[in-house]
């Protein structure tokens, strides 16, 4: 029905962007400011409470910044995807638009913001005069891609569910808050006893954040088979998301 899926998604995303930031530079600056401020506060707090260098952690600040930005991407992306169908409810109830384009467009917004945040990360790395090599950067990009897959997979399921159950946002808020502390963002994984590592790393975001940190700052990578397994898990999750979405798609308009 639409030859212009790509344009449709792009237009929807642009519209969202314009609406949220009123087409102003100040609006965009605020989008960056949020994770940045968080970083500054946490950096200050934890550097004062305990000196990371004593635990053998180099480049704590860089790790913290990257982790926060990544987690922020995940949090904003899933929240945007979750609420997208309700937010664009007029579009859903008055005309046929493939619902998935709405969901994808909503997550694109967060991706855009994150990509712009990368500039800030790059600036910080320059400030600290630390340059990761090609492999770490490639790994980083790869993990970013996987994060986006997780966000999309989640949104495909959450958005139709949210139409039906409106308290999903509150539940998800609590879950993301828990995930923040369950992931090695403000602390390194090494602080925890060995037997808990596997459990923590079962959380995909924790896995991504931990290995991104390690790759960028310590040139330490997960074994290739582990990465393969992880990728497989993410892909399966994504596919499952699409399947669930397919099942729920028909009733979306009625339930809004």
């Amino acid at each position: 029905m639409h030859e212009n899926y790509r344009e449709l998604i792009w237009t929807l995303a642009k519209t969202d962007f314009k609406l949220r930031y009123h087409g102003s530079v100040l609006g965009y600056v605020w989008a960056i400011l949020k994770p940045l401020l968080m970083f500054l506060i946490l950096n200050f707090v934890f550097s004062s409470i305990f000196n990371p260098k004593n635990s053998g952690i180099q480049h704590y600040s860089l790790q913290l910044l990257t982790s926060i930005m990544l987690f922020n991407f995940f949090s904003e992306g899933t929240n945007a995807g979750l609420a997208s169908l309700i937010q664009k409810s007029t579009l859903v109830t008055k005309i046929y638009v493939p619902r998935w384009t709405i969901i994808v467009a909503a997550t694109l917004n967060s991706l855009l913001i994150f990509l712009m945040n990368l500039i800030v990360i790059a600036l910080f790395f320059t400030w600290y005069q630390f340059w990761p090599g090609a492999l770490p950067i490639a790994t980083f990009c790869y993990y970013i891609f996987l994060t986006y897959l997780v966000i999309l997979g989640f949104s495909f399921v959450a958005a139709p569910f949210f139409v039906r159950f409106r308290d999903l946002t509150q539940i998800w808020e609590v879950v993301t808050a828990a995930m923040f502390y369950a992931s090695p963002i403000v602390y390194p994984l090494s602080i925890l006893p060995e037997q808990y590592h596997q459990i923590i790393l079962a959380n995909p975001i924790a896995y991504i954040i931990h290995f991104t940190k390690m790759a960028l700052t310590e040139n330490h990578y997960a074994p290739w088979w582990q990465n393969l397994l992880f990728t497989g898990a993410v892909v399966v999750f994504f596919a499952a998301g699409i399947l669930v979405y397919r099942k729920m798609e028909a009733k979306i308009a009625e339930n809004i």
Binding site: M1, H2, E3, N4, E7, L8, T11, L12, T15, K18, L19, K88, T90, L91, V92, T93, K94, I95, Y96, V97, R164, F165, R166, D167, L168, I171, A250, K251, A253, E254
Partner: protein, 422 residues
């Protein structure tokens, strides 16, 4: 097959039922709690085995009362809902115009909304840029195109939305009662566009309550009632059937109402509640005589509350007099719903002498060939003595009758017998 190519839309045995839960559960918490209770819900059958075809280039009207399933049908045709049973086959692309400004975002300018709306309707960016000037020109909103939509009036929004829908290059146009918002110039423009559409072999489906448009412009029409197809075909026949159904529905409703108020009336003495918003004045503390009941009948004596223009109307006035009254005068007055006094003869001015009134009786007021156009009219009935100074009873605008007219052009309140002459 040749036949296949002629058909724009083929609907076969379409049914759609909505489950309406008695308690709408909209939270996960609620779902957990109610999982252990019996979930009470109603099934509402919006459409029941609907089948019809629309040929390419037709101007197809869909009419029916509110709740008959028209909007549900359109949403199914636009793929917003999915059918429970039955099939919809659509040959070509659909441009729905179901409500004001599909996907219009009030915080964005008209320009941005055109881009958004047109993209949603399937145009590529290049196509939109090419057509932009034409879209704005058609909507006559050049001066306001960069203002936010929330500042537009509803008429402006319709013009913009319609302009985009028209230029979206699609084969089938679905319209749902939106044209009523525009002024007559706009409606004229729309009808011209529809005609252009048809000449290009494109199809227009219009849901409307404007019977005039259906009769004058539609090729064929579909009448829906309670989710079922009543009639498909000649638009004049469809409108006639629709009006007739409405008349009998009104009859039933008024009958039910007056049954209720009669029960109330007979229980207590006035001041009681009359059917309409009229007052009952009791000028004399002791009632020597009163008007007990007024019923409306057709020319065969059958009780009726809803008449067509030109029919005979008989108002049977029942009275009761507790003492012998010589030469009483009965008068009536007819008011429009807006309170305009149309006429008000009484038996004295009409030279119909009533000798006396004693006990119970009735008097008929006969209107032959009523000239009234569609509307609700109120009747006052009063009982006076011969000098018309002291009223025995006045039931001011206490009785209602309705006129449902099939006349095509109803200009004004009454239909006057007239001639034009050079």
């Amino acid at each position: 097959m040749n036949n296949e190519n002629n058909v724009a839309i083929a609907v076969n045995n379409l049914s759609k039922t909505f489950k309406i839960p008695h308690n709408r559960i909209s939270t996960l918490r609620g779902a957990f709690v109610s999982a252990f209770k019996n979930k009470a819900y109603e099934k509402f059958k919006a459409l029941d085995k609907v089948s019809f075809e629309v040929k390419k280039g037709e101007f197809f009207g869909i009419i029916g009362r509110n709740g008959s399933g028209k909007s549900t049908l359109l949403k199914l045709l636009a793929s917003i809902y999915t059918p429970d049973t039955g099939r919809i086959k659509i040959n070509g692309r659909v441009s729905p115009f179901l409500e004001l400004g599909i996907g219009f975002n009030p915080e964005l300018s008209g320009r941005d909304n055109i881009y958004l709306n047109a993209t949603v309707l399937g145009l590529t960016r290049k196509q939109i840029e090419e057509k932009f000037a034409k879209i704005v020109a058609f909507s006559e909103l050049e001066r306001f195109i960069d203002q936010k939509i929330k500042n537009y009036s509803s008429g402006m929004q319709v013009r913009l939305a319609f302009s985009v829908a028209i230029h979206a290059n699609r084969d089938i146009l679905l319209m749902d009662e939106v044209l009523a918002v525009g002024d007559t110039n706009f409606q004229q423009k729309c009808l011209e566009e529809f005609n252009k559409y048809r000449k290009q072999g494109r199809t227009v489906i219009l849901v409307t309550h404007d019977m005039g448009t259906v009769q004058r412009h539609c090729d064929r029409a579909l009448l829906l009632r309670n989710g079922k197809v009543v009639l498909i075909g000649n638009p004049l026949k469809a409108v006639e059937k629709y009006v007739n159904q409405n008349m009998s529905d009104e009859e039933n409703r008024i009958e039910k109402n007056s049954e209720n108020t009669e029960n109330n009336n007979s229980a207590a003495e006035p001041p009681s509640a009359p059917v309409s918003a009229g007052k009952t004045t009791n000028p004399r503390p002791k009632k020597a005589a009163k008007i007990t009941r007024v019923t409306f009948l057709d020319k065969n004596g059958k009780p009726k509350n809803v008449f067509g223009t030109g029919e005979d109307i008989i108002a049977k006035i029942h009275y009761q007099s507790n003492k012998k009254i010589l030469k009483p005068v009965v008068g009536i007055a007819i008011y429009t719903q807006g309170g305009i006094h149309l006429t008000g003869p009484n038996t004295r001015t009409s030279h119909h002498l009533i000798d006396k009134m004693e006990g119970k009786g009735s008097l008929d007021f006969v209107i032959k060939n009523n000239p009234f156009y569609s509307g609700t009219y109120a009747l006052t009935v009063a009982l006076y003595d011969w000098e018309c100074v002291h009223p025995y009873d006045i039931k001011d605008r206490a009785y209602q009758f309705k006129i449902f007219s099939k006349e095509e052009n109803q200009l004004g309140t009454i239909k006057l017998n007239h001639l034009w002459k050079n």
